[in-house]
């Protein structure tokens, strides 16, 4: 089980924060392009899955997986989107994402007067605490290097 990377997007699609851990293979495109495509994919997927849903869907989609990785998605009421990529051994990272939003992002970015709202996060404290939190997760770890 392992964690690949994390993106935080604001409502308009700008990437506020990115970090990676065990990501062995790059996407082969510039990072800006990657952010744009990632957000675009989430945007379309989100609206399409809502259309396909047999009943009214509140949460939108929460995760998808391919044969190689699983993408966990959390959208807050304010429109912030958190995306965590892990391998297939991680069943759900919802609680971790909730924690990252509620206890780290809100505390250290929203309440930090030196982080302007909806601007890329520069705070080193946030980066450090996030890194420590991710590394402390039970499913973090470089074991099982299949991909």
């Amino acid at each position: 089980m392992t964690i690949h990377n994390l993106y935080i997007f604001e409502r308009g699609g700008r990437c506020l924060f990115y970090s990676e851990w065990h990501r062995r293979r790059g996407p082969g495109i510039p990072q800006e392009e990657e952010f744009k495509l990632m957000f675009g994919m989430l945007f379309s997927l989100r609206s399409f899955v809502a259309k396909m849903s047999p009943t009214d869907m509140r949460d939108g989609f929460v995760a998808f997986h391919t044969s190689k990785y699983r993408l966990h998605y959390l959208e807050t009421p304010s429109g912030l989107r958190l995306v965590l990529n892990t391998d297939l051994g991680v069943p759900s990272a919802r609680e971790a994402l909730q924690h990252i939003y509620g206890n780290l992002f809100v505390e250290l970015v929203v309440k930090n007067p030196l982080c302007p709202p909806r601007a890329p996060v520069q705070s080193l404290l946030f980066r450090q605490r996030l890194d420590a939190f991710v590394r402390s997760l039970p499913y973090f770890g470089p074991r099982n290097p299949q991909n």
Partner: protein, 158 residues
């Protein structure tokens, strides 16, 4: 005390607003700190009146400082001052190792140059509180590594 988040956000917006106004040419930057300090002074005067309404009278200066470090600090910042030192000649140093207005900002040197803006109000708060208890003082703050900070209180003998 009002909700903590409200206080934090209001405080940071007050500082930001003050400096924004200064940038648009209404008075120079040094004035901002003075203004924030005097706002804190007025707030401190009011607060101490409220907080001491059920307390007994104070024995001496040190007793008053202890009240500021414990009760006053706990009500405003949800924790006590970690260390109080004095030279018994009118200088007190109040050290807070995790000052509430700096904890979410940084842990170390990042943003250090911005720290003084966020301490001016609190300096005024202490000075206002003391002034309403009959002590005239000068309060300055010092930060070397966030989120710890030191407030130095110099008592002015009358």
């Amino acid at each position: 005390m009002a909700d903590e988040a409200l206080f934090l956000l209001l405080h940071s917006e007050m500082v930001a607003g003050m400096y924004r106004a200064a940038e648009q040419g209404e008075g120079e930057n040094g004035r901002c700190t003075t203004k924030l300090e005097s706002m804190g002074f007025r707030v401190g005067q009011g607060l101490i009146e409220r907080f001491t309404k059920d307390t007994a009278r104070f024995k001496d200066e040190l007793d008053i400082m202890k009240f500021i470090c414990k009760d006053f600090w706990t009500t405003v910042f949800k924790k006590q001052i970690d260390n109080l030192r004095t030279n018994h000649q009118g200088i007190y140093v109040l050290q807070d190792n995790k000052f509430r207005l700096l904890t979410q900002m940084s842990a170390g040197k990042q943003y250090l140059e911005h720290a003084p803006k966020y301490l001016a109000f609190t300096c005024g708060l202490i000075r206002g509180g003391l002034s309403n208890l009959g002590i005239k003082s000068i309060v300055t703050a010092e930060v070397s590594s966030m989120p710890a900070c030191k407030f130095q209180v110099m008592i002015q003998k009358m």
